[in-house]
Amino acid sequence: MTEIVARFLIGGIVVSCFALLGEIFRPKSFAGLFGAAPSIALATFGLTIVKHGHPYAAIEARSMVFGAIAFFVYACASSFILMRYKPSALATTTALMPVWFGVSFGLLYLIP
């Protein structure tokens, strides 16, 4: 339970800090870089290494490569659809979540 609370607090703080950086910088395309900051990874890796060790964290990092590629595809799709068709940002980014799941799990399945 203590670990879950620690993860929640650390994750919340790290993610909020990167979100604030995204608010501060202009132009918006530059600020967008912080939307893909390794916030969850930074909040998690320290605890993971302490609990499970380096090899376990390295396996997670390898899978994270697939997750990041999936994030790239997801962000490109979001950008294109928002600019081309101008639907609601929340609806678009939520509706495109299956793209992230499909690409990330697809890559993990193809390159186990």
Binding site: R7, F8, L9, G11, G12, V15, S16, G22, E23, I24, F25, R26, P27, K28, S29, A31, G32, L33, G35, A36, A37, P38, S39, I40, A41, A43, T44, F45, G46, T48, I49, H54, P55, A57, A58, E60, A61, R62, S63, M64, V65, F66, A68, I69, A70, A75, C76, S78, S79, L82, M83, K86, P87, A89, L90, T92, T93, M97, S104, F105
Partner: protein, 147 residues
């Protein structure tokens, strides 16, 4: 030109700070629990989950709408275009994120973890910024040629 505007923090409401904190915390907890339940291979995917992306895009759209509304204009399209530009920036950040993960994957075993994590984070930032500037300069060159 890149600039930092601390005054823009005043436009953010307390509820918006809370939403980001909550989403960030919940996604971090979920990533840990998924790794415990399904193993590090599946859990690792969620370290690059677009956790606060929908919330961030939605808040950005709302901010732009609010700004335009103050001027008596409908900022719906403006807000959605801003969210699109923000997403394009995030896609560049993802290139740095891949590099971050590769550095951790290849160098974490047998090396000092805090140093490796710090170097990977610096590499993420540097690569993202370099790609962003490169893309910008090419874009301007293309526009000049087109004109």
């Amino acid at each position: 030109m890149v600039s930092a505007q601390l005054s823009s923090l005043k436009d953010i409401r307390l509820r918006e700070y809370c939403v980001r904190f909550l989403f960030g915390g919940l996604c971090t907890v979920a990533a840990g629990l998924i790794a415990e339940r399904f193993g590090p291979a599946v859990g690792g995917l969620f370290l690059a989950f677009p956790a606060i992306f929908p919330a961030g895009a939605s808040l950005l759209e709302t901010h732009e709408k609010r700004k335009m509304a103050k001027a008596g204009l409908d900022g719906t399209n403006q807000g959605r275009a801003a969210a699109s530009v923000d997403s394009a920036g995030a896609s560049i950040g993802c290139i740095g994120l891949v590099e971050f993960a590769v550095i951790l994957w290849r160098t974490l075993p047998g090396h000092n973890a805090p140093i490796v994590i710090a170097l990977a984070t610096a590499a993420w930032l540097i690569l993202s910024v370099v790609v962003w500037y490169t893309r910008k300069s090419r874009w301007f060159r293309w526009r000049k040629t087109a004109e």
